[in-house]
Amino acid sequence: MSTVFRRAGIFLYRFPGLRLALLLAPPLAWMVVVYLLALAFLFLTAFWRQDPVTSAIIQAWGFQNFQALWAVDVYRTIALRTAGMALAVTVTDVILAIPIAYYAARIASPRVRTFLLLSMVLPLWSSYLVRVYAWRVILSSDGLLNWSLHKLHLGSVNLGFSNWSLWIVFCYLWLPYVLLPIFAALQRIPNSLIEASTDLGARWFTTLRRVILPVALPGIVAGSIFAFSLTLGDYIAPNLVGDTEFIGNVIYQSVGIANNIPFAAAYAIVPAVIVAIYLLVARQLKAFEAL
């Protein structure tokens, strides 16, 4: 047995190209066959149509799905609303994330830093669905939020379920994704850079504005990719705490209720294209190196 391994090892040692091929082929084949092929099929399906009478899928080429997306007001409004929400959530999360990431990276003691890091990582990996559900419970009219507001004599705001509550929930969901790359970027800034700025007479705010934030920008953009992309493609949160339609809902309903898969495929290409544009801009800002 071991001689077989030994011989195979020697053989492979002579041919590094073969070694590389053997290592790379399985993961690459998987990704191409499962993922790229699936994306190709998505693109293909988007040009098919559904028979309005039998609701069977007709495999004939045509642009009718994209024409519908463009011509029907509702779909344009929904796409714009989704993109607007994604932008609002991204900006809010970045504003919330910078102070806490800054505190964790540059002010907190090593022990507090470790604790904060764990506190950021845990929600990121914990059940996304349960985190939405928790807000559904909190925001409901007889829930914790209204009870607290009542106790504080602030009256009741009927937040749930609206675009406002959705905005809060999205910010909540993606905050850890924004926090971690910004934290990493801030921590990577060499002390000498900041000390040089201080020694040259800059006050803290000047150093922040002219040194720290520009150097951390790739990390900030990297974090913003997640908030933007994840909001754009979400259908669970609008479904559970919102009251209007978003791109995700329309796609989900087209598949689940109407069974109009060609139309859903066409609409799914919209967020894919928006994110692709965002990623291209992010690459210009060197965000990928901060990922």
């Binding site: 290592l23 399906t45 929600p123 996304y128 349960v130 409901s140 796609i251 994110v275």
Partner: protein, 290 residues
């Protein structure tokens, strides 16, 4: 990192940031706490404050056959996806770490793509593929399609953990092993594998946590199979099922906290380089989780 950095922030700024940090931590954790408290709600109503505390719904959940079968499906899907991800992710990490070749930089970007694109795009793409696959090769929605979908975005989690460890593992270790007469297999078995074992374990745990909780893609690839998150999603609107949903939800949260906590500890085990690791690891994990 051992040198204490000079503090340049004014006291007021430090205080302000401390307050914001505290508020954000509350914002992150209060909702999770609320769900835990609700799991002990004796009533079916969701009104706050609770009329009392009781463990009766834990018993009801344990005896709920639907929940049990959903749990089994989720465990199977998680184990299947994690196994595939461990194999493919570490192969890719070895290839990228060991060799320089054309298109090398593109591969890690390609691996992240299933997580970086909105979940609904990945979900719809797999859904279209399964539908077409059904006509061509008789593919149908099943546990296998769930596993295939999950594995596709779990690969990058394992890949990131393994490659981060390989980059930190000194090349001289491998050279020393070869100089002492070990062949390639022995070097792998006795030098490289022990070095990356905790990274593999951490990557596997995170991949499992990711798969166990996944709902966005799962809804598009599972057909009539019910996973635990899917069961929650289908039942959380039904007033009758609320108490059981609350219990399942808090158990799911705990079930993800434990592996993630262990994974975090595993990737920061060597105290000597703890500071350096704390810098590199989280960003990579953040990417993997997108």
């Amino acid at each position: 990192m051992s040198v204490r950095q000079r503090v340049i922030e004014p006291r007021s700024v430090q205080l302000g940031m401390r307050v914001v940090t505290l508020l954000v931590l509350l914002f992150l954790y209060v909702p999770l706490l609320v769900i835990f408290v609700y799991a002990f709600n004796p009533e079916r109503s969701q009104a706050w404050p609770l009329p009392g505390l009781s463990t009766r719904w834990f018993v009801a959940t344990w005896n709920n056959l639907e929940v049990r079968s959903a749990l089994v499906t989720s465990l199977k899907a998680g184990l299947g996806a994690t196994s595939i991800a461990l194999l493919l992710g570490s192969l890719a990490a070895f290839a990228i770490h060991r060799f320089r070749f054309f298109g090398r930089e593109a591969i890690s970007f390609f691996l992240i793509l299933p997580l970086a694109l909105p979940g609904i795009v990945t979900g719809m793409a797999l859904n279209s593929a399964i539908n077409i696959g059904g006509q061509v090769i008789g593919l149908s929605f099943s546990l296998w399609t769930i596993i295939i979908g999950h594995a596709t975005f779990c690969v990058v989690v394992v890949y990131n953990n393994v490659i981060a460890r390989l980059r930190r593992t000194s090349g001289s270790l491998v050279e020393a092993s070869m100089d002492l007469g070990a062949d390639g297999w022995q070097t792998f078995r006795f030098v490289i594998l022990p070095n990356i074992s905790t990274a593999l374990l951490a990557g596997g745990l995170l991949a499992f946590a990711l798969s166990f909780d996944e709902i966005i893609v799962t809804n598009f690839t599972s057909g009539s199979e019910i996973t635990l998150p899917k069961w929650i999603f289908n039942n959380l609107r039904l007033p009758n099922q609320r108490p059981v949903v609350n219990v399942v939800a808090s158990v799911v949260i705990l079930a993800s906290f434990i592996p993630v906590y262990i994974a975090q500890r595993l990737t920061q085990e060597q105290p000597v380089r703890a500071a350096e690791q704390a810098e590199t690891e989280p960003a990579l994990q953040a990417v993997a989780a997108s």
